[in-house]
């Protein structure tokens, strides 16, 4: 698996898109930090960008890489390699190169800004950790979609749809439910609802780390009571890990049954 990972990673590192992605984060980081000067505001803006952009790039890149490397995959399948190591290697190659672009792209400007001396280092690390989790989750979901759909156009369609659903539609539906049932106690429901969507979960985790969580009012208090505690943080990370593991397990399962 490590060999496949190496070649996929190497292949992606030579592709222009990895650099475009890296350059985008570098630019974003530099602009936000050096033209803004308010670190916590910069982290919030970054969070908003990461929460939307990372899943989108993860899904699109994942689907694109799978379809583009079809020939490479077929070549590998005839070699004495396990199917699971071929697909896991490719998946990790994509996910790790995307995560690296994110971490380097945002990390370098922050280091120059003097991150290690500032108090925001924990907020910032959390931002990068959730960003990496989101990359792992959405690339895995993208591989699932691509493995199940021979047709490229369909695969891309489903991938975009998935992103739209989790990044936009889910929030809308969630909010509607909360408004419709506002007469009932909704603490538990909203907690569970937030836990089930990795994008919402990441956003809540970061928001609650920042001072602005006081602005969230009563719900914020309930959330803080849950997510603010060690127990809440642990549960959140377990959920995020489950979001990575389940799609990865399905990649293994699906790839074993597929004809090439």
């Amino acid at each position: 698996m490590l060999k496949i990972l190496k070649y996929s990673f190497y292949d992606l590192m030579r592709s222009r898109w990895s650099y475009v992605y890296l350059a985008f984060y570098l630019l974003l980081g530099i602009v936000l930090l050096f033209l803004n000067n308010d670190l916590s505001k910069a982290v919030i803006t970054l969070m908003n960008v990461i929460i939307i952009l990372v899943p989108l790039i993860g899904t699109i890149f994942g689907v694109m890489y799978y379809y583009n490397s079809k020939e490479f995959t077929e070549l590998l399948l005839a070699q004495p390699l396990k199917r699971s190591s071929i697909f896991l290697g490719q998946y990790l190659g994509v996910a790790l190169s995307l995560s690296m672009s994110l971490i380097l792209g945002l990390g370098i400007p922050f280091i120059f800004y003097g991150l290690f001396k500032s108090n925001a280092i924990w907020d910032f690390s959390l931002l990068l950790i959730t960003g990496t989790f989101l990359t792992l989750i959405f690339t895995a979901l993208a591989f699932n979609i691509a493995l199940s759909n021979e047709n490229k156009i369909k695969g891309f369609g489903y991938a975009i749809l998935l992103w739209l659903l989790l990044a936009v539609v889910y929030d809308g539906l969630f909010l509607m439910t909360l408004i419709m049932f506002e007469d009932y106690p909704l603490d538990k429901l909203s907690l569970v609802g937030t836990m089930l969507n990795p994008i919402d979960l990441s956003r809540t985790l970061i928001l609650l780390k920042l001072d602005i969580s006081a602005l969230l009012g009563y719900t914020g208090a309930v959330f803080k009571q849950f997510f603010g505690t060690n127990f809440g943080i642990i549960i959140s990370f377990i959920t995020l890990t489950a979001w990575v593991l389940l799609p990865v397990l399905r990649i293994i399962y699906k790839s074993k049954k597929k004809d090439f």
């Binding site: 079809k70 020939e71 005839a78 004495p80 199917r83 004809d259």
Partner: protein, 235 residues
């Protein structure tokens, strides 16, 4: 060497293989023939584990291939259409495959044989079909495995390369290897193969030597013998 029992495979509603029984003994060149869409490639890909059969068992060198990938160390496979990652260079591809399988020095001899030196630093996406096929041949023959599977090896090759390929196949046979070939070029098949396996509508229609096939169909030459099977069964 290879034993296939009661192999069934369906793609959607399309029943491609319906109960193939085949046993291929050690040594010799076996040609798998059949009309387009008869299931030749599916049969070969089943042996390689790229296609998962619905029913039936396949054993290669005494080991069942189910949930197993190590047996592919014993197989050299030449895919039908040489599709390679287009942004890799020829040299890098050869190095990579060696890294994934095992070290060998055979590639240098084969590169010289097929006169591929000028292309080593070119990207695979920029090569012509015939050159890609030569690269494909180098990748296949550079490992010294007891079973060689060639799916349409002649595609795109010029006459000189074709002669070299035939010599190569004969040399491998002389080492006592088993070679399975599919091809639509009947003269090529007639020249190299020891035994014919004819697939029709997902089943083995005929297995035996070329002389036996000629006697069975009462035709004087091989090409007409094959043609007569096809017309009899489709008319």
């Amino acid at each position: 060497m290879v034993t296939i029992e009661n192999l069934h495979k369906k793609f959607g509603k399309n029943q491609v293989l319906s109960g193939v029984n085949l046993s291929i003994t050690n040594g010799g060149i076996f040609a798998v023939l059949g009309p387009n869409g008869s299931g030749k490639t599916t049969l070969i890909k089943s042996v390689l584990g790229m296609v998962i059969p619905d029913k039936g068992t396949i054993t290669v060198l005494g080991n069942s291939i189910k949930k197993n990938s190590d047996y592919r160390h014993k197989i050299d496979y030449l895919p039908q259409i040489a599709n390679f990652p287009s942004n890799l260079r020829v040299k890098e591809l050869i190095k990579m495959i060696k890294d994934l399988r095992k070290p060998t020095n055979e590639d240098e001899r084969l590169i010289k044989l097929f006169k591929l030196e000028p292309f080593l630093n070119k990207k695979l996406g920029n090569l012509s079909g015939g050159t890609k096929q030569k690269v494909n041949l180098v990748l296949t023959f550079m490992f010294d495995s007891p079973l060689i599977i060639l799916d349409e090896p002649t595609t795109g090759l010029d006459p000189i390369s074709l002669i070299r390929l035939k010599d190569l196949i004969h040399a491998e046979k002389a080492k006592g290897k088993t070679i399975i070939v599919t091809s639509h070029i009947m003269s090529f098949v007639e020249e190299i193969s020891d035994e014919i396996v004819f697939i029709l509508e997902g089943e083995i229609y005929f297995k035996g030597s070329i002389t036996e096939l000629k006697n069975k169909t009462n035709q004087p030459d091989f090409e007409h013998a094959i043609a007569s099977i096809l017309t009899e069964n489709h008319a």
